[in-house]
Structures are given as structure tokens and as C-alpha cells.
């Protein structure tokens, strides 16, 4: 008789019991974690940069709100207005994520803030990957662990207080749950599969993921609406007896989304004295992106601050002088600055934005290299990121153009990923893009790679399923592909 094995022995036995695919996945998880541990010292001391200032300040103010609530004293409404409502540019998702840290450590140093963000973003990545493995399969889970998980710039950005990366992970979770919903609906139709979860519960889950993503990056609202709409259409096409349950689920999703959007819209509208739905930044964004920057303030804006803060000051001065809202002032400024926009100038600007979106995926490597870094990271981060991300962009492009003709599950995934990538590529049509925008796209690129790999492997195999329904799913994909190609052709034709 031998002694019972110790913890190391138990681990060794469990490892021996694992299949090869499971070992690969665990190895990738370890690599993801180690990469972040290795990059943390190089990033930890980076001072708050750009919009991070808003997210961190809003978290500080929210932590004070928690203190005031539990000590039954009145909240500091002026502090909240200045730091949380702010200019109404950003929704406070990232700030809410950071609030618990400042509740416990009110004067948290930047190293602690970045460590907390790194832990949170890594945990969320792994949570999203667990869902992907369960509902989309091991290949997809592995692909997401590699791209974006192992892309060094993505790992570094996990220490940043911008919302782009977290929004992308929440989008991935939303997509996973949407696929699971369609699958569960079909299984219930066949009378097979697990006990169907209450429709409202699954719907609320979807709605929560959608609104959480929007709170982190309000520009994904188009994506969330698109993904929920396509899920509804594809689900109703595929469902038989269960279609009512599916519609009820989506109604619950929409309701959860709106109920949680309302507090921000109402608060920001109240504080800024005009209607705010998600963000107030659109007019000035359009003016700076497509209009004449020398006309944004009916002439040049004041020197001494950025293209965002100078117009803001002007619009606030108009509001102070006339009593109208600063948003209405900004909207009129934007119309004036865009008076000379033509279809051709707009198309050229869209292409320029698209190029900014794609050309420098490691643009933040140097910015997030701490002045106190014990070893340099920016060069390696940059080089490896280029090597990994440019091929991934190509994969995303192929995914956008590829029509999957496999079974219903694969076609639904293909539809959802196309809508999601397409919705993210609306950004260059409305906003100056930059090096952090692909952080939201990243998980979709990994998913695309897995889908294309699966399609390639099953080429030539017969397709199972109701042919008429599958034909509709294929037609929907074709519509999306033709739409994307048409939009691209029109923009290029106008621009050149």
C-alpha cells in the first residue's frame, strides 16, 4: 500500500488524465498569465494618460459616493457632476470597475491601479474564454487565447484604464450567449438538450452583457443592437414551436438594456441641461473628423489646449452667455464647421480614419512604457504585436467576405461575427480612429480564425439541417458581404 499522493502528485495525475486539447488550452492560459506578469513591471508606473484621467477621477468620485451612502451623509453632488457626468463624453463603465479599488484604497497609487486593472482584464478574458469553450468549442477558445490573448500590446493595454478592451471582451461574451440562445432554442424545438432556461433570465443575461459593453465604450451600441437584431432574425428563422420563447427572450434583453441605460442618460441629461443618450461628443467628433478644424469655433478655437477641450470651452461659453445647452451650441458649431464637406472629402477622411484604425496597432507601446520600467518593453511589444496583429486583420477581412455554407450553428456564428466586425468598422465613418480601437475588435479576430479553420476542415462534408432555413441564413450572409463590398467600393471610388 502506498501513501495517498500529495498536492503535487494529485496535480500530476490530473494532468496525465487530460486530453491533448485540454493541455494545449491550459498551456495557453498559463502563457497568457505569464505574459502579463512579465509585462507588468514595464507598465506599472506609467502615469495616467489622456482619457484615463476621466475614468480614474470618476472612480474616485464614485468611491466617495459609496462612503457617503454608507455613512448616511449627503453625497457631494458637485464633485459627482464634475467628475462623473463630466462633459458627458464618456460613460462610466471603466470607472464603476475601478470604484471598489478606491473604496478600499482611496489614494491608490498608479502601480496599484494598473495591477488591479490587469487582474480584472485578465480575469474577464479567461471568463470569456470559458464561455467560448463551452458554447463555441475548444478551437475557438484556443484561438481567442492566442489572438488577442497573447498579443503583447493587448496584454499591456489590459493595464490601461480605457474601456476599449473590456468592451471587446463583453462583446465576445454577448456573441457567445447569442449563439447559445439560438442553439438552445433549436434543441428545445427538437425536444432534446438541457432543460430550457426561463426566457426572461437568458434575455436579461444578454441585455446585461450588451449594456455593460456600451458603458465601457459607448460606440459599441451599434454593434449590440445589430447583434441582438441578427440573433432575433436568425433565431426566428430557425425556431419552430419555440419562436415565441425566443421573442420573449429578446424583449427581456432589450428591456434590461434600456433599464440600465436610463440612469446614465437621465443623470447626464440632468447635469448638462440637455438630452444625452450615451455621449455628448458626436457633434465635435464629426466637426474635427470631417469638417474644417479652423472653423469649429466659427473660426479658430483658442490656442493652448486640444481639439477636444478648446471647442468644449467655446460651447460652454455660448451656453453661459445665452442659456442654451452646451450640446446645442456644439451641434450648431459642428454644422458650421462641416459646411464645406463633400461626398469626396468625406470618403477621403473615412479612408484616412480606417488607415489610422489599422496601421499602428502597437501605437500605445511607448505611451504605456513606464518611466521607471526596470527593463525596456516597447520595442519587443511593438515588433511582436505587428507580427501577430496584421495577419489577424487579414483574417478578419476574409471573415467579412466569406460565406459559410455549413450547418445552422456555423452559419449563425458567421452572421454574428460579420455583423459585429461590420459594426465596429462603422467607427471610421464617424470618428478619427487611433491605435487603441482594435482592442475592441481583437477577440472577434480570434473567433474569425477559428470559424475559418473549421470551415476549411469540414470542406466537402455533407451539411445536415433543414435546407430551406439554411438557404435563408446563407442569403443573410450574402447580403452582409455585398453590403460591406458595396460600402468599400463607394468609399474608394469617391476618394480617388
Amino acid at each position: 500500500m502506498s501513501d495517498p499522493p500529495g498536492p503535487a502528485g494529485l496535480l500530476a495525475r490530473r494532468w496525465a488524465d487530460l486530453e491533448r486539447a485540454q493541455r494545449v488550452l491550459l498551456g495557453l492560459v498559463a502563457a497568457v498569465v505569464l505574459l502579463r506578469v512579465g509585462l507588468y513591471p514595464g507598465t506599472a508606473g506609467t502615469p495616467v494618460y489622456g482619457d484615463e484621467a476621466y475614468y480614474v477621477d470618476a472612480a474616485r468620485a464614485l468611491s466617495n459616493l459609496v462612503r457617503d451612502l454608507v455613512s448616511f451623509s449627503g453625497p457631494d453632488t458637485a464633485e459627482l457632476s464634475q467628475n462623473v457626468a463630466g462633459n458627458g463624453w464618456f460613460m462610466p463603465g471603466m470607472s464603476i470597475l475601478l470604484t471598489p479599488l478606491f473604496v478600499v484604497v482611496p489614494d491608490a497609487p498608479i502601480e496599484l491601479v494598473r495591477a488591479y486593472l490587469g487582474l480584472a482584464s485578465t480575469a474577464l478574458l479567461l471568463l470569456a474564454v470559458l464561455g467560448v469553450r463551452r458554447h463555441l468549442g475548444r478551437v475557438s477558445a484556443g484561438a481567442v487565447l492566442v489572438v488577442p490573448g497573447l498579443v503583447p500590446m493587448y496584454a499591456v493595454f489590459g493595464f490601461a484604464a480605457y474601456g476599449d478592451l473590456v468592451a471587446g471582451l463583453l462583446v465576445l461574451m454577448l456573441l457567445t450567449q447569442a449563439v447559445a440562445l439560438v442553439r438552445r432554442t433549436r434543441a428545445a424545438d427538437r425536444g432534446a438538450g438541457p432543460e430550457p432556461v426561463a426566457a426572461w433570465r437568458h434575455g436579461i443575461h444578454l441585455g446585461l452583457l450588451g449594456i455593460a459593453a456600451v458603458y465601457f465604450r459607448s460606440s459599441v451600441s451599434i454593434l449590440v443592437v445589430g447583434v441582438l437584431a441578427v440573433t432575433l432574425v436568425a433565431g426566428v428563422l430557425l425556431a419552430r414551436a419555440q419562436w415565441r420563447r425566443l421573442v420573449a427572450t429578446m424583449v427581456a434583453a432589450g428591456a434590461a438594456f434600456l433599464v440600465l441605460l436610463a440612469p446614465w442618460s437621465a443623470y447626464a441629461s440632468h447635469e448638462l441641461g440637455g438630452r444625452v443618450l450615451t455621449t455628448t461628443s458626436v457633434p465635435t467628433v464629426l466637426a474635427n473628423t470631417f469638417g474644417d478644424r479652423d472653423d469649429v469655433c466659427y473660426g479658430e478655437c483658442d490656442p493652448g489646449s486640444s481639439i477636444w477641450f478648446s471647442p468644449l470651452r467655446y460651447s460652454r461659453e455660448v451656453a453661459r452667455a445665452t442659456g442654451i445647452s452646451e450640446m446645442q451650441a456644439a451641434a450648431e458649431m459642428s454644422v458650421y464647421a462641416r459646411a464645406d464637406v463633400t461626398a469626396e472629402s468625406y470618403a477621403r477622411d473615412v479612408l484616412d480614419n480606417l488607415s489610422r484604425y489599422l496601421r499602428n496597432p502597437a501605437g500605445f507601446a511607448r505611451i504605456f512604457e513606464s518611466p521607471t520600467a526596470p527593463y525596456p518593453t516597447a520595442e519587443v511589444v511593438g515588433a511582436l504585436t505587428y507580427l501577430m496583429v496584421f495577419p489577424a486583420f487579414l483574417v478578419g477581412l476574409v471573415m467579412l467576405l466569406y460565406v459559410d455554407r455549413r450547418g445552422a450553428g456555423a452559419q449563425v456564428q458567421s452572421l454574428l461575427v460579420k455583423v459585429a466586425i461590420g459594426a465596429l468598422l462603422v467607427q471610421p465613418f464617424v470618428h478619427i480612429a487611433g491605435s487603441r480601437y482594435w482592442m475592441t475588435l481583437g477577440p472577434l479576430l480570434g473567433l474569425s480564425a477559428a470559424l475559418l479553420y473549421g470551415a476549411r476542415r469540414s470542406r466537402g462534408r455533407p451539411v445536415a439541417g433543414d435546407v430551406a432555413t439554411l438557404a435563408w441564413l446563407t442569403r443573410l450572409q450574402v447580403v452582409l458581404v455585398v453590403g460591406a463590398v458595396t460600402a468599400a467600393t463607394v468609399v474608394v471610388a469617391l476618394a480617388v
Binding site: 484621467a53 478606491f102 473604496v103 478600499v104 469655433c297 466659427y298 490656442p303
Partner: protein, 166 residues
Amino acid sequence: MAVSEARRPRSARRAVAALGAALLLLIVLSPTFGRADPTGSYRPELSPDARTNGCWPLPGGVRLDFGYQVRSDELVATTTGQRRQLVLHYDQVSGEEAVDSVESGFAAAGVTDVQVIADDFVGTAPDAVVRGQMVLDLPPSRPEGRPECRAPFSTKKFTPDMDDRS
């Protein structure tokens, strides 16, 4: 989807309860940890207008009776000596009305050495809030020494070393 409460093992339920209690305790104790100090840097206070806070008043203490945004307020050298050139955008009035109002204001205050020109913007909507630009040619003023009277976003006296806004 989450596993239902009933199926969760007892030890896991205990762990969740303990974690919840610890979090609640931290939240209840949080006022004793001190207060966070937001910088408010993304929403700075709007600087007061230096024409109305005593720093750079208009000649004769005249106040404009329509909404406006000062764009620049500079001392310029001319052939007849130094002059104060004030450029502003006027709101919700026509250029003609604005000039009449300014001129009668200065006349009432006994200031005669003033020239006012206004140009309505071209292409703005008839009900637009900001309507046009006015240039006031004024006798030079003496600067105030108080520090807030040197804040450029208040005085709108910009120096060449200030970065362009891009």
C-alpha cells in the same frame, strides 16, 4: 448560465457567503479609510469673462447687453498710437442690432473714441445662436495686476508660445 443555488455544494455556498460578508464589511468601513481626491481635470471650471470681473473692463465701464464670446482682446500698435482691439462673436442678435446696442452704450457712458464693425456669418441658419463676428476698436486700457487677470482663457490674450489647438 449560472448553476442554481440549490445545486451548489454547501462549502461553495459558505465561501460565497463569507466573501459577501467580507465585502460588506469593507464597504461599511470605507468611510474610515479616508476620502478619494478626484482632480476634476476633464471638466475644469469655466474661466470668468475678464471684461466683466473687473480685470479688463470696457471703456466707461460699459456692459454689452447681448450674449457674446470674446475671441481675442489685444493691444495693437497703429499709426495713431496704441489701440485695444476686441474681437467677439455675438449671439441671438443681428450684426446691425449688436452695433447699435454697443454704440448707444458707449455714447451713454460718454465714450466717443470707439469704432465698431460687425459681420454676420454667411450660411448659418436664421435661428442660429452664434450669428457673427464683431471687432471693437477701443482706446487702450491699463492692465490689472491681480493674477486672475492674467489667465489667458479669461482675458483671451494669447501668447505665441501657446500651442495651437491640434
